[in-house]
Amino acid sequence: MDINMTLIGQTIAMIVFVWFCMKFIWPPILKALEERQQQIEEGLAAADKSQEKLVEAQAQADEIVSEARQQATGILDQAHARANEIVAEGKSAGVKERERQLLAAKAEIEQEANKAREELRGQVSAIAIASAEKILMREIDGRAHDDILGKLAQEL
């Protein structure tokens, strides 16, 4: 247990190791630690902020969804109304068309009937004249009684 030169050797070794630690070990480790502390702080702040933003975005999304739902119901209602309208329109158009065609058919029928009646009338008057001629061949002058015959034909 004598004191000897080991003491000086240890002192020198200690100075060297402390110098090495001071130069190459302590500063980079502490720098990294401080940087990480700052990063964590920033990260936490960013997380808080994004949480807030998330809530905000959620609210916004809810709003948008409800708006869209409202719009959708509006569109649906409109579409229903339009469909009903179209159906009603179609119905009324069909009714009109039917009436129109009915009218046209009636008019045609009447026309045909009139034509047939006209023809018939002509023929009847011709027959009447012919039969009257046969009966009254002699007594009646065709020319003198033409106006009577005409009137007759008119009445028929």
């Binding site: 247990m1 004598d2 000897n4 190791f17 090495f20 630690c21 480790i29 630690l33 940087e35």
Partner: protein, 282 residues
């Protein structure tokens, strides 16, 4: 285990003193380098203490330097996290105690803490392993725990002592340093008849304060040395017990882990406290 040490018949006394003998080298009267006949020679060097101390210092430097070189603010590896825990622990200890600004004190504390811890930790290596292994390759003595060598602990505390003086002078000036040694704890009278007593008071203060100043490194080193030497001695005594050493060795080792860590922490903490006292004015 002890008796079959390989050196022929051995008494317990031989065994113990063999374990407490340093591997020494020195120059004899003829200027030749000689081994292990250096008792009392102040120029001798304890080769084993120096070797293990420097080796463990290099282990510390290498481990921490590797982490420092790759350290970044990103996700740390597990080893980096462990190193950072130690660094932060030392850093917070320094910040709690030392309020000045210094680039030296925190790295000094870290070096002392880890280095002393590693040196103390060698105490947990079973006492016969390394001495017997080195005996097998022809080295007769091998004391593996550097902090059980009073030279090692004094070597460190003397460095701390000079730092104390350096910091006192740096922060208070030479006059401040001298004043601290002479004007406390009894302030000498500065006028009247009391002036006659002033030199005596100053001399008294000087003696008292010098003792207080010198007691710092002495207590620092002897505390560490005493704890580790006693622990080592108990390990050696336990090793003499034959089979019963196994449970006892385990129990003492568990207890000694506490002492190993505590002594390293105390050495670091007291260094910081002394240096902060030196740089703060009262």
């Amino acid at each position: 285990m002890a008796a079959e040490g390989g050196h022929g018949p051995q008494t317990s006394g031989d065994y113990i003193s063999h374990h407490l003998q340093n591997l020494q080298v020195c120059k004899d009267e003829t200027g030749e380098w000689v081994w292990n006949v250096c008792a009392g020679n102040p120029m001798a060097i304890n080769v084993d203490s120096m070797f293990w101390s420097v080796l463990l210092g290099l282990v510390f430097c290498f481990m921490f330097w590797r982490v420092a070189k790759r350290s970044s603010a990103g996700r740390p590896t597990k080893f980096q996290a462990a190193v950072e825990i130690i660094v932060e622990f030392v850093d917070s200890s320094v910040k709690d105690t030392f309020h000045g600004k210094s680039n030296l004190i925190a790295p000094l504390g870290l070096t002392i803490f880890v280095w002393v811890f590693l040196m103390n930790l060698m105490d947990l290596v079973p006492v016969d392993w390394i001495p017997m292994a080195s005996a097998a390759i022809g080295i007769p003595y091998m004391k593996v725990v550097p902090s059980t060598d009073v030279n090692i602990t004094f070597g460190m505390s003397i460095a701390v002592f000079f730092l104390i003086i350096f910091y006192t002078i740096k922060n208070k000036g030479v006059t401040g340093f001298i004043g601290e040694l002479t004007l406390h704890p009894i302030a000498p009278p500065t006028r009247g008849l009391g002036l006659i007593a002033a030199p005596f008071i100053i001399a008294f203060n000087l003696i008292l304060e010098s003792v207080a100043l010198l007691a710092k490194p002495v207590s620092l080193s002897l505390r560490l040395f005493g704890n580790m030497f006693a622990g080592e001695l108990i390990f050696i005594l336990i090793a003499l017990l034959g089979l019963w050493q196994l449970p006892l060795h385990f129990g003492w080792a568990v207890f000694h882990v506490l002492i190993v860590t505590l002594q390293a922490f105390i050495f670091m903490m007291l260094t910081i406290v002394y240096l902060s006292l030196a740089s703060e004015s009262h």
